[in-house]
Amino acid sequence: MGDNKQNRFEEAFERGQKGQISSYDAWLQNQGVNPDNLSHEYITAYLQKHPEEAPSHDDQLEEVAEYIGFFSQQKGTYHLPIIAPAGFGKTQLLHTINQMTEQLNLDYPNKYYSTTQFVEEQEEELGIYKILDELEEYCNAVVLLDDCGQDKRIDHSLKKINSRVDNLLIITSWTPEHWALEQDRVNDVLPLSQVVELSPLSEKNTVDALKTAVSVYSSGQLDLPKSLYSEIYSSSYGIPLLFHEILRETFKQSFLSDFSEVTTEAVSTAVQNLQLDGVQERVYDLSDKKLLVLKHVLLSPHPKGQRPSELVEKLNRDKSTISYHLQSLTDNRILEKEKQGRSVFYRVRDLVKPLLQQRIEKEGEFYA
């Protein structure tokens, strides 16, 4: 018995020496991928530091650059809202604009803020006042303001920022539903100069972005077949949030399926595992009534989502109708629910959100 255990130990040791061990981290290392790098946070931070390698929204970048050039000669107040569903790369685009404007060495500053900083607590004060005090120092500035839909007092914030800086080019980012909700109030305090809309990436740009991501994860050691990238493109519709997520899941599913390397066959398993199979059809088959429910869920100010009782009140429908729709949308993997105490919150699943927002935006439903 003792010898048998020793033999098994030694065999395992020898397998380990050859890199044949059943750990995902070791499997990744064997592929040339640093496990610590294979995350949303890492690739986001990397691309924000290296904007030239980020997924390409070149037309929109040039559109904004022209305005920055115009502003440098013709002072005044200009507002460019960037509007796109979640996960299309708005934050990345703002960071790219910020870094590339920095390289121009203009004689006035460009500042990036997220509205989530506005409500942070800072020595008895809300964070927005620290930002306003900072901006007060400048006569001219380019301000990049992210996550505008998260600020419940965005009209107040924009009015205050405008009052602090004499000449202001402000570039804001919005999801379509929040822009539709707030645009009139925003236009009252800060007239609109031009709307910048982001689209999903083309297949070529998606493949390039995926190649970059694999190179970043593996420090340039790994390249994957083009067929794999194309397969991810068709399942992600060129939406950065989705193709990055599917890529990372494909690594995991390749390992779990006992493949010796990352393979195209694992993409469909990854898509299923992320519950993205048939997601476009599921979203486009939604009835008008369900879309109405989803619009309210998307606009919920609560980070955990919407409670059924709030929907009953907002939509003026009976409780059983709302419960039916919520259950059906949960079964259909559009919504997810979370219980907190006696309350249940429903929210749109993160990976479904871009497609849902895209559908509602295309149909002009937010404006109805």
Binding site: E123, E124, E125, L126, I128, Y129, K130, D133, E136, R153, H156, S157, R164
Partner: protein
Amino acid sequence: MPSFQIVPVPQGRITLEGVEETIQKLSIHEDSSEFKRGILPGTLGRSEKGPIWFKYGVQDEMEYNTLDGTGTTKYLEEYVVAFLGNGFIAISNTDNETKDDILSLIKHQFLQDISPETTEFSEEALRKIINDANETLLAYLAPRERSKPERVSGKDRDLPGTDFWDDYGDEPLDKIKVNVDGEETEIRVGFDKYGVVVLYKQSLNLSEQIEALRILAENLFTRLIDPGSYQSTFSDEEEDI
């Protein structure tokens, strides 16, 4: 954040030129006590818009630990005294002993027959400030009803537009923070019922702090504080002041 208390004095009684002359003659070094108190030489400042200020120093002792036991050292605390004009002096918010020292200095050097006191902000004054402010950013309230909490506070970019204000806005106020008009930009300032005025903008240097207080004195304190509310030891003589 710099905080002050406001001392109303009879309008026209203290001329700013007179203040400058007196301050230049006085120095903490003339105090022969072990722990000196008095005006710090070289701290006199004056703005083109009128205010004059100086710093009042208080020496004290602190203990510190060394390998050989406890040592002591003297250190200096500095407090601002600013003559704002319009019948108001601002002094740094401090403990009662130092406040009494500063008030005594003001009395004996500039007023003689009147004992000045720091002012408090009544409920009515705090309500007036809120009504006139551009925005009310913070309020600490002390509800009276048994069914309500002992203390509540709300913070927003403009509290009176919120449900919180509907529920608690009429309760007694302890402390508020508001945005009021300045000359070039808004002043973010707090007031409490004990008379403490807090300037919230962190980057203000001393002359900017005093300019903000001058604007508050001119536009706000003159409307809030009865000009005759200073303490006088010779009340019959007030008519002649």
